[in-house]
Symmetry: none
Subunit: 131 residues, 4 copies
């Protein structure tokens, strides 16, 4: 699994890292129960700070994506991530609204938006092969 970070991005590195891991899980490149590199080794692999990796891991644990065992280290949560509920949908909607409003102002058509979303789903579902 490749982890691509952009050090010039507005998005904090730990956020980017979280995203990459979540995408990895969505693509099934990381499967439930699978072990992730240790904080230390991942940090040195990517060339970032220990604390940064740790922050990403901790938050993903908090959100139910990862489990952190004392012995077995960090693993993808065997039961999968918590399921989307009403509250989750509302939050997602609040995030999506400004993005869609912006694209709407720029005259990106509904159809174009739909295609864009579809292409992302394809990426995720075809993802296993890219590993």
């Amino acid at each position: 699994m490749y982890i691509q970070l952009d050090f010039e991005s507005e998005t904090p590195i730990y956020e980017q890292l979280k995203n990459e891991i979540i995408i990895g899980i969505a693509k099934k490149q990381l499967v439930p129960g699978e072990r992730l590199p240790s904080v230390r080794s991942l940090a040195s692999d990517i060339g970032i700070n220990l604390h940064t990796v740790n922050k990403a891991y901790q938050q993903l644990k908090q959100e139910g994506f990862l489990l952190i065992h004392r012995q077995r280290g960090v693993v993808v949560h065997p039961d999968g991530a918590p399921k989307a509920d009403e509250h989750y949908e509302q939050k997602l909607k609040t995030t999506l609204r400004p993005l869609i409003a912006d694209s709407y102002c720029r005259e990106l058509s509904k159809e174009q938006f739909r295609r864009l979303v579809k292409s992302i789903y394809s990426e995720l579902e075809e993802g296993k092969k890219d590993e």
Copy 2:
């Protein structure tokens, strides 16, 4: 036009304000050429600092949504926002990917996602009435 801000949110106030304005433009509650409140009056209306409003205005000007007219003050750009191009779509895709991956992990179905997007488009298109 109502502007609702969440002062507890992680999202900076000026970002929320930018979003509200963009949504207002998308809903056609703010029309091209229309004048926006002065930084001072809007700031005191919302109960925030004028510099915060100014930052939002400046960035929206920079992005092509607003114009600073020497006689009419701050106005919605008469020509509308810059049109979406290939680069814009790529940026949007990069923003959307982690959101979709996350919802995918949480087993939010494609159909549910589609409905969510559709409901946002409805909001925007019906928006004029809410004014």
Copy 3:
């Protein structure tokens, strides 16, 4: 003589107006001794504030481009503008330096810059015809 103002420009209107008049003089569309419209009429023609026109006229008088008679009104200075001296050249250089540095960083070649300057001189010298 056409006066084109951009109300969205960073440049103050009175500055733009001054520039237009100076360009008019350079192009000999305005000749020494020629009378300019009154503050009042020019202001209403262009659709700007009296004070704005007045400010432009006053500064041009200060700089030696115009004469303001009580009876004859505002006229182009019969003796022409004050000649460039060493101090003037230094000031010009200070203004030009950042412009050239900027274009230099953007890899605009010396030759391109030279052509650009030349095209402006041509405009000025051919200007009489455009009147």
Copy 4:
């Protein structure tokens, strides 16, 4: 690299600072990838407010001269500034026109102007030595 500001000037401090940095880049006293002082240290060095420095940095980032790197701080953009295009040339011409018209009225000869421009190019190209 020396930064000389004139606190009495009409030109805003942040503008002067931007100009100094651009000149520094043109002179290759600041090279692509090189790190700039932090807003705080530069501000205290020059004796101005950190927000003023920040404004200059932000605008230069926006214009493509600088990059904010999460690890290395503020750096000169590794790819150099964006290249001059047709639009840039037009903008430059608009800026140059009044300057040239003014000097033309004051009977500064084309040749004198040419020499002045040339001397600025020399400054820039010899600049490395002045460091």
